[in-house]
Amino acid sequence: MQTSSRLAIYALIELAANPERQVSVSEIGEKYRISSHHLAKVMHTLGRAGLVRSIRGVGGGYSFSGNAKRTTLLDVIELFEDATGDCKLADPSKANDAEWVLFDVMCEIDDIARATFGAITLATMLKQIGRRTKQARERASG
């Protein structure tokens, strides 16, 4: 997964956790140790996709405007990269048997990755984060 996709998922998780709240790019950047410059470009792409809304002015920032139950990690990744990964052959007409067999292996891995990313919504990510936080709290309290 490319850095932009990863940053976009972090930003969307942050915003979708509290859709009423407006969060600045620098606030998200600080939490995830991300450059604000890179994050601003990512937020622009998310805005064009209708996943975040930009609020200008003092106290402005971004808020979540998507549907967390319907937006999958694959939906987000595909905004930034070609999600077909390594399942590619440079020139199928000239490929030999070894190239075809390796291509099949890469496609197998790619299919599993796509199915996984396509089945995990932002809402599921938030639930998983909640479970993890709860478990950590229980461990800490003995």
């Binding site: 998507g66 199915a115 089945a119």
Partner: protein, 166 residues
């Protein structure tokens, strides 16, 4: 990124959801729901599943159905789930397997699946089981997304298969 089948477009359930074991009288509704979802009617299959999972070893076999807990429901059956405790297959410690699951399409996104899943989880726990598994077709994003949302993740096994040559 709004997609088809959003919650706001679904009819609301008239009442709360009740989970109970299947009875012979439910089988027609199970067959009908399965046919509506998969396109195939399999009455013989379901009769066999009923006999194996609803009449014997009931401490380890669970065939559960969901219904609206008032008699005025639009649908006689909201969904079903079938699971069993299996041990030592593929070298695995005993675990709970879910091998059939379906929710009435017009009542999705309203907690029916979650009620069924939680009831199965509680049944396995009562049977002394701490892990449950299922298998989902890769292209079945509906079930994949549901089981993921309930906290299931990829387990330690990978399913392999091949075409058998003539």
């Amino acid at each position: 990124m709004q997609k088809k089948g959003d919650q706001m477009n679904q009819p609301e359930l008239a009442s709360t959801i009740a989970i109970r074991r299947v009875t012979q009288g439910d089988l027609g509704d199970v067959v009908a729901l399965d046919k509506r979802v998969t396109g195939n009617a399999k009455p013989d299959y379901w009769q066999d599943i009923f006999e194996r999972y609803a009449t014997r070893r009931l401490d380890q076999r669970f065939f559960l159905v969901a219904e609206a807990d008032t008699g005025a429901a639009q649908f006689p059956l909201l969904g079903y789930i079938v699971g069993e405790v299996r041990g030592w297959e593929f070298g695995s410690e005993p675990c709970g397997w879910i091998f059939a699951f379906s929710v009435e399409p017009d009542t999705r996104q309203q907690g029916v699946g979650e009620h069924l899943f939680q009831a199965m989880s509680a049944a396995f726990k009562t049977a002394g089981i701490g892990t449950m598994r299922t298998m989902v077709a890769r292209q079945n994003q509906l079930h994949m997304a549901f089981f993921r949302s309930e906290g299931m993740v990829a387990g330690p096994y990978i399913q392999l298969e091949m075409e058998i040559d003539d």
